[in-house]
């Protein structure tokens, strides 16, 4: 069940965006990232998580993505900076 979740491409892109590996969705193009961009994002995520950079969504990568974690992004400057106001 853990693996099937990320077979949904939108979930994968959401996850990668949420933690800073993909740019935020563009208002015009939506989430139409190229396949290359997606592969590079997966590689960056694998590298940050200490896995081999294959760009392939293998089981080890999916396990890593399911590991409980902090909400803050790893790779972007769109982090939880203090400039964001609480509503």
């Amino acid at each position: 069940p853990q693996i099937t979740k990320y077979k949904n491409m939108r979930s994968l892109k959401d996850w990668l965006s949420k933690f800073g590996y993909l740019p935020p969705p563009d208002s015009v193009t939506g989430q139409l990232q190229t396949k290359e961009a997606l592969t590079e994002a997966i590689k960056a995520m694998q590298k940050f998580g200490g896995l081999e950079e294959t760009g392939v969504l293998d089981e080890a990568t999916l396990v890593l993505m399911k590991t409980p974690r902090c909400s803050l992004p790893d790779m972007s400057d769109a982090g939880m900076d203090s400039g964001r106001q609480k509503r």
Binding site: G50, P68, R69, C70, S82, Q85, K86
Partner: protein, 443 residues
């Protein structure tokens, strides 16, 4: 890693737990607070930062256990997934705020499979709250993925990578060697019982323990949001919710470490508003405590404050203006703890405080914004910025603060045979064994 946006430019940071976990049967409030205390201490032990817990609504680091969408733009997602986050330092009022997902099963000293170790996650999140970003270094506590419990909070030692990052932001705390790398041959120690900063004395009270329901008090103070009633060598402690922690008084010297052992009482105590250190007065001398350890160089003379050497009857911080007031006989002084100087025009006559008696035992502020004055077995309340006692006072200290009923006494005769007299009149057999008693406080 994401670049760290900024850091705190002050060194004294206040914190408080605003919302505790709902499933409080897993971790009690005191345990949560203790774990937060130790998780912050991990950072302040090596960097020149000082954290102090406060009551009230103002704190630099507000800690919430919350769930799902909690109106900060970063909703939690139920068990697993994202478990916590914190706001980096900065100008926003949310800076430093730290949120834990209340849908997680937070644990302490439990096997990895039983839940999420709160101490480990708190150390990570407080790293963000003081300006650290995620890192990919496997041994770092700032790695974004939860890696299980990190052992005994009292023995936890930050990985060297994290020490370097925090030193780059704030510098090295005095007495910390920044060149000493960790002993890589060291194996992790098994967790041991947590020695909480609160009183956990296992020594039975001595025969000279006073009767809280039938006495006056040497000093009364609000410290870290809690109330402390001092009498002789003992003190009682009340939680922020005004619940007596124990009917039995604790020994001053076993908690406030560094006071002379021959000190048989104190005159007045207050928490300094500038740095939240705690000041004890006795006669012409005073001592300053950081948490419950005395600072080096004390005692000193009360003349440091511009006070006469005869000492003080009472000391408290008026919430209205954050100034410290000292009372002695029929005079009072106003002191600015931020500027460390006495305000001009003092002393003045205590008559200006209408209805407040002279020759006070002590006074304190409380979380309701009022000031309380204590003398004998009675107390008086002054609301907000008023300088006049509220109608309906004085009232009984024992009855309103110390869980006493009318005419109740907890004299040794009622307490000396292995039973404990409760205010509700219930008798409980003590678990005393070999002269020691094991207590469990769950409130």
């Amino acid at each position: 890693a994401a670049s760290s946006p900024t850091k705190w430019y002050k060194r004294h940071l206040s914190w408080r737990v605003r919302k505790f976990p709902k499933e409080s049967h897993l971790l009690g409030h005191d345990t949560v607070r203790a774990l937060m205390y130790y998780a912050l201490k991990v950072w302040s032990d090596i960097a020149p930062l000082n954290f102090h817990e406060v009551a009230g609504s103002e704190a630099d680091i507000q800690i919430d256990f919350t769930k799902a969408d909690h109106d900060d733009g970063y909703p939690f997602d139920g068990p697993g997934g994202t478990v916590a986050h914190a706001f980096f330092p900065g100008d926003s009022y949310a800076a430093g705020d730290t949120h834990f997902d209340d849908d997680e099963s937070w644990t302490f000293r439990s096997p990895d499979s039983h839940g999420m170790d709160l101490f480990a996650v708190a150390v990570h999140e407080f790293g963000h709250a003081i300006g650290l970003a995620h890192t990919s270094a496997k041994k770092s506590i700032m790695m974004p993925y939860y890696q299980g419990p990190v052992g005994d909070p009292l023995k936890y030692n930050l990985p060297y990578e994290d020490k370097v990052h925090i030193w780059q932001l704030y510098g090295v705390r005095d007495s910390v060697s920044h060149t000493a790398r960790p002993d890589v041959s060291r194996t992790d120690d098994p967790p041991v019982l947590l020695d909480l900063p609160e009183n956990r004395s296992t020594v039975p009270p001595a025969q000279d323990a006073p009767d809280r329901c039938n006495t006056h008090f040497d000093a009364v103070a609000q410290i870290r949001g809690e109330a402390f009633f001092f009498k002789g060598k003992y003190f009682w402690r009340l939680t922020r919710e005004k619940h007596l922690v124990s009917l039995r008084p604790a020994q001053i010297h076993r908690f406030w470490r560094g006071l002379p052992l021959n000190l048989d009482s104190v005159d007045a105590v207050y928490e300094r508003p500038s740095d939240h250190k705690i000041v004890f007065f006795k006669g012409e001398k005073y001592w300053v405590f950081k948490d419950n350890n005395v600072e080096e160089g004390y005692p000193r003379l009360t003349s440091d404050f511009g006070l006469p050497l005869e000492g003080v009857d009472a000391a408290f911080v008026w919430p209205h203006n954050d100034k410290t007031y000292f009372f002695m006989d029929r005079r009072y002084w106003r002191y600015d703890d931020h500027l460390r100087r006495m305000d001009l025009g003092y002393p003045k006559d205590t008559m200006l405080w209408k209805g407040v008696p002279t020759l006070l035992d002590d006074a304190m502020r409380w979380s309701d914004g009022s000031s309380y004055f204590f003398k004998g077995k009675e107390y008086w309340r002054v609301q907000g910025s008023d300088m006049e006692v509220e109608v309906g006072y004085p009232r009984s200290i024992g009855k309103d603060w110390l869980a006493c009923r009318e005419m109740q006494s907890d004299s040794p005769a009622a307490d000396g045979n292995g039973t404990e007299t409760r205010s509700q009149g219930q008798h409980h057999v003590s678990h005393a064994e070999n002269g020691y008693e094991v207590c469990s406080c769950t409130s």
